[in-house]
């Protein structure tokens, strides 16, 4: 059953709706080469990047060499890995051997990234055969909103370029949405994978805290940070998670819990599952009515897939959101304090006032926030005795205009992501509809699916099952000035 108002993908624009799963097949059945795929991806970026602000730096030469090597391997009858030839971008707070890692800031010492080389997650993607296309825009140091006074691109939502992509994994969000990359890495400390996924209409996964090693990534909040995949679909996120997940001693927060094949459970069947829905009414200062219409449709779809949907109320909503805020601000300020003292003005306006505001919190406030996190974990675990999964809207609004972004202080209440960072549960954001008309300025709406710790398989199964019978995730924005379809057959 498809949801209402589904718009079929533009004819001849196959590659702009291409998923990693599609590309895996095409690369192996001769429809596509890695070199062609990369060329198409870069061509898309060439056409839209000046408007959209996807990339901070591109690695055309090394990427082309990598693609050529993949093609040679395929031609020789080898299979160079599940991500072989897939063009992926990396948020520019994660270190890569190519180029510089900037954190989109004038402040970060460029020598840091040079000293790290590839972060563990990047090594793992490469080992799976991925082609790393470049470093993607981010909010400065993964926090805040754009600052037009600083010499960095402003990331725009491809569905309506007056609007912000959301953050902080902005370039990953609009890069995937626009088809400049098939997937990429984001990070999530209070919602920074899920919000750009929501606003840009793509799928992003914050896995269980400690599931994916975060070494080689500039920290924002040590006890909250997650690196995770962003792509067109839950299935694509599962493909990427298979490469990313797993313990590494370089990350003190990494957990030694065995990984699994995150694709194995994607059978489209949700029979017997109980899903708890909290609409989070009244939690945001404003709410787009389209969110509730979309949620109604989601309930119908999930019920049709065999699940039972019940109403639940998430415990300690305000308190856990406060705990995330206190924790992330304070941990960030510990990291940034010396630079904020000596280079205050070099920071973006929202970064310095946001992180600097941590001076409002005492050590005891921080400790208390950790106590509340523990109370919250117990309370939510208790809730998970009655349901297998929880769903909520990812956000009560579809986004904000770039001109309206100041410090965003009041607006955080509309984003329903930080609660899960306090607790550590895995949470997937995926598109569930639109506010307004797609390709006529309308903006995507997003569903959040949450599971118990280390149940990424079940979370992804629910997302994939939903996406087998709906098309929101394969819709693409009208890409401006794109070259005509150039996929060779």
């Amino acid at each position: 059953m498809t949801a209402p108002d589904v718009v079929a993908p533009e004819e001849g624009a196959l590659s702009s709706a291409l998923t990693i799963a599609d590309a895996q097949t095409a690369l192996r059945d001769g429809t596509l080469t890695a070199t062609e795929l990369l060329r198409e991806a870069y061509a898309t970026a060439d056409a839209v990047d000046e408007t959209l602000g996807i990339y901070l730096s591109r690695f055309d030469e090394t990427a082309q060499a990598a693609a050529a090597a993949i093609d040679a391997a395929f031609a020789a009858g080898e299979d160079p890995g599940p991500l072989a030839g897939i063009p992926l971008g990396i948020k520019d707070i994660i270190s890569t051997t190519e180029g510089e890692t900037t954190a989109q800031s004038l402040v970060l010492d460029r020598a840091w990234g040079a000293g790290v080389g590839d972060a563990v997650v990047v090594s793992r993607l490469r080992a799976a055969g991925a082609v790393i296309t470049g470093k993607l825009t981010t909010m400065e140091y993964a926090t805040g909103v754009p600052d037009p006074a600083k010499p960095f691109p402003i990331p725009r939502n491809p569905w309506n370029t007056d609007y912000w992509t959301g953050g902080s994994s902005s370039g990953t969000g609009n890069g995937v949405a626009a088809g400049a990359i098939l997937g990429g890495l984001g990070t999530d400390t209070g919602g920074s994978i899920r919000i750009p996924s929501a606003f840009c209409g793509i799928t992003g996964l914050k896995a269980t805290f400690g599931r994916v090693p975060k070494s080689g990534c500039v920290p924002l909040g040590y006890s909250l940070d997650n690196i995770g995949p962003m792509a067109r679909s839950a299935r694509d996120c599962a493909i990427m998670l298979n490469a990313l997940a797993g313990y590494d001693a370089s990350d003190a927060c990494a957990v030694e819990v065995p990984t699994e094949d995150y694709l194995a459970g994607l059978d489209g069947d949700l029979s017997g599952l109980t899903i708890g829905l909290d609409r989070l009414l009244g939690k945001a200062p404003t709410r787009d009515p389209a969110v509730d219409a979309a949620l109604d449709a989601v309930v119908d779809v999930l019920t049709g897939l065999g699940a039972t949907v019940v109403d639940v109320e998430l415990p300690l909503w305000q308190e856990l959101n406060a705990a995330t805020r206190i924790t992330s601000r304070s941990e960030a300020f510990a990291y940034h304090a010396p630079d904020l003292r000596s280079r205050w003005g070099d920071y973006f306006s929202a970064t310095r006032t946001g992180v600097g505001a941590a001076i409002a919190f005492t050590g005891a406030d921080y400790v208390q926030a950790q106590r509340v996190r523990r109370v919250g974990q117990k309370a939510v675990a208790s809730l998970f005795e009655t349901v297998d999964l929880i769903i909520t809207p990812t956000s009560s609004v579809a986004g904000w205009k770039i001109d309206e972004l100041d410090s965003m202080a009041d607006r955080f209440g509309a984003m329903h992501t930080g609660y899960w960072n306090a607790l550590g549960n895995p949470a997937l954001a995926l598109p569930m509809g639109f506010s307004g008309q797609p390709r006529a300025g309308g903006l995507p709406l997003s569903l959040q699916i949450i599971g118990r710790p280390f149940t990424e398989s079940l979370v992804l199964r629910a997302g994939d099952a939903y996406q087998r019978v709906t098309d929101w995730h394969v819709l693409t924005p009208a890409a401006a000035d794109r070259p005509a379809a150039a996929v060779a057959s």
Binding site: T353, G356, A360, V367, Q368, R371, V372, Q377, A379, D406
Partner: protein, 65 residues
């Protein structure tokens, strides 16, 4: 008698000074808002009755021994 706004302003100034920060004039409104919101958030976490006897999860304690 100071208003709440003045009081927060004083507290903010003291906190900035003791932390060695010198913000720009254009930052003040955002800092004030964030500071007062921060105190509200601190009050929220202290209002959680069930935390009275709860032990926190302090990630650094995991790195001992």
């Amino acid at each position: 008698m100071h208003s709440i706004e003045e009081e927060f302003g004083n507290q903010l100034d003291l906190a900035l000074e003791s932390n060695g920060l010198t913000p720009l004039p254009e930052d003040r409104a955002a800092l004030l808002k964030a500071f007062s919101t921060g105190r509200e958030q601190a009050a929220l976490v202290f209002s959680v009755a069930e935390a009275r006897y709860e032990e926190p999860d302090l990630i650094f304690s995991a790195s001992l021994s």
